[in-house]
Symmetry: C2
Subunit: 374 residues, 2 copies
């Protein structure tokens, strides 16, 4: 039986055949991270992956020992064989995989313009080197990965269970007066997720107490400031399990003023409005626009998008953005965040975010984040 | 008195004038991080920065509240005014900063090829849009930033002090038998650095016990496996203070076999060899080549570069790499890592890394990482 990675590559090979691409290169490197590498090969990072339309995959990892443990490809060659230079590796990969002269080779969509010119200089005599955003492999992978397969849904369900255990634990400790600072709150997440078998957190935990919750993403991510004290505190975190991350935000509300209470109840109502609209066939723009309109009626503005897909990356397709260039339609198997929020310099901020699986019936919430009223 | 950011921008304005660039754009965004933004403006992230040769700086931040607290520029406009679209922001910035028609506008060196075409389509009628790697602004900034200014050296000295306190604490706790797992070791770093006023760690702490130290960068970064037990354990970490990170690696050696002892002593000797060669005017390639040659004489191969600069990024210029394309010459004010290491699947790995300031006299080690023999 083919591995999950092999099955995913088969989808890409079919796509390559349809596009007339003989060789495709995927790169994950510092400054140019691409979790497509892991999705297609199991290799967690720092490697080049070459896929030939003849249905063969060659991995060129920086660390051969890691690749031997994790990667599932047809061939393996250490990056040091090519002086760790992508262009040199591409030339050798084309020869090794017997790519015919004159064929099309697709390099990553994020290839910088000056580097693209060097690729063309090195390979353009023998091949047609292409680099595309909208119609290219990166966009195709984004589409494929937007709809999670059974293995991915299983993993994210488990990550969501751990997320919920942490939310419950957090609420309990807050009510018992055991968590006083942003730092203690963030450290609880970091420690407890690992005790439950997670790889860690999927992104830097943001814990912002009443003095700092006015920002969308507090900077620094957490400090020694108080958390859960009078006013609005925001905690935004995700746990990573087998590479997949959740992404939730809860708000801790304590002795709110009337104006703070209003931010909070508007956020909760916007969240319910959005969740009620989730079902297959709905343009995600419509949901984002409905929330923006809802806030506008109260003279409020949400300064960020309504949500996004999650997976190996904390931000994946589909976008849930109220902007003309968003053409995503919800499909069963997509896993998205809904995260309405409002922020004001003097009142603080409030955000409520959960992860939602799109099913044939509508939206199934995988996580149980909430407004915690102390 | 001009701020440190203003002084740095003056250097860039002079460079722009020399290059005939009227407007330069710097972008820090998810997937395209560029700490040049912070270096030039104080804004920690998620913004566009436009610099005009008329010596004016316009910041376009995602989060206006964060910018009001941290940024030091002439003008501030929220990104939402431009639908958070870089090309739209660039068009408006050119008008706002009164860039004359026909002038040269430089966009980031990492601009993907397809996006470069869209920039040219949108702006090319009025301006000459350029995107360069080797001769461009990114390369110039890399040069400027490779030599730290007094403010940066002061900050990194303080970060190094905290780093050393953590190393001493770690050794004490290891000798007292209080740290048993990779997880406890990494968590000690995470917790104690924040207690000492740091922003956190500069990159994900790597703690690899004897079963996992064979990899250059263990995956996952730390687990529940034992640390400091019989064999070779590696701890690679850096603390971040006011944005600047240190980067050190220590190896914990316990009841070594003869072969493991040999890896360890070769690593220590390579480190001393490298440190002894640090002084202004020396090509960094020469030091990296000397270490490679030293290991080769013992039939060993180091699978990574000898070191790199540190600063706002954990990896900055200069490179210390034994490769033909490395033309860096050491200068006073550079702060570099020296990190020789050897790895073997059955023996485990050993790496020793410290941060070194290049002074007129030679190399001043800022950190005191070491091989800890239990």
């Amino acid at each position: 039986m083919p591995s999950v990675y092999q099955r995913r590559r088969e989808t890409v090979y079919d796509w390559m055949a349809g596009e007339g691409i003989s060789l495709a290169m995927i790169e994950d490197a510092e400054g140019r991270r691409d979790s497509g590498l892991r999705w297609l090969s199991g290799q967690p990072g720092d490697a080049l992956l070459f896929l030939s339309v003849e249905r063969k995959a060659l991995l060129v990892p920086w660390d051969l020992n890691i690749a031997r443990l994790h990667a599932d490809t047809d061939y393996l060659r250490p990056y040091s064989d090519f002086d760790r230079l992508p262009i040199r590796a591409a030339i050798k990969a084309a020869a090794f995989l017997k790519i015919p002269r004159g064929s099309r080779i697709e390099i990553p969509a994020v290839t910088p313009y000056p580097r693209f010119l060097r690729f063309v200089e090195a390979l353009g005599g023998d091949f047609d080197v292409i680099c595309r955003e909208e119609e290219g492999l990166a966009a195709a992978l984004e589409q494929f990965r937007a709809v999670k397969d059974d293995e991915e849904i299983r993993i994210i369900r488990r990550a969501s269970e751990v997320t919920d255990e942490l939310i419950d634990l957090l609420e309990k400790q807050l009510r018992a007066g055991k968590l006083k600072s942003e730092y203690e709150t963030a450290q609880l997440i970091e420690g407890e997720c690992r005790k439950r078998g997670c790889d860690g957190t999927g992104f830097e935990t943001l814990a912002a107490g009443p003095e700092r919750s006015f920002a969308i993403h507090a900077f620094p991510a957490y400090t020694a400031s108080s958390f859960g004290s009078k006013g609005l505190s925001i905690l935004d975190f995700g746990v990573k399990y087998l590479g997949y991350t959740t992404d939730v935000t809860l708000t801790v509300a304590s002795s709110l003023t009337r104006a703070q209470e209003r931010l909070t109840s508007l956020t909760e109502r916007a969240y319910k409005l959005a969740l009620g609209m989730v079902r297959p066939g709905v343009p995600s723009l419509d949901i984002a626009a409905a929330v923006d309109t809802f806030f506008e009626k109260s003279n409020k503005t949400m300064p960020h998008a309504l949500g996004h897909g999650i997976g190996l990356d904390p931000h994946e397709a589909p976008a849930l953005r109220n902007r003309g260039d968003n053409s995503w339609i919800l499909e069963p198997g997509m896993i998205i965040t809904l995260e309405p929020g409002l922020y004001a310099p003097r009142l603080g901020g409030c955000r409520l975010e959960n992860d939602v699986l799109v099913t044939a019936q509508g939206g199934e919430t995988l996580t149980a984040s909430r407004i915690i009223r102390l």
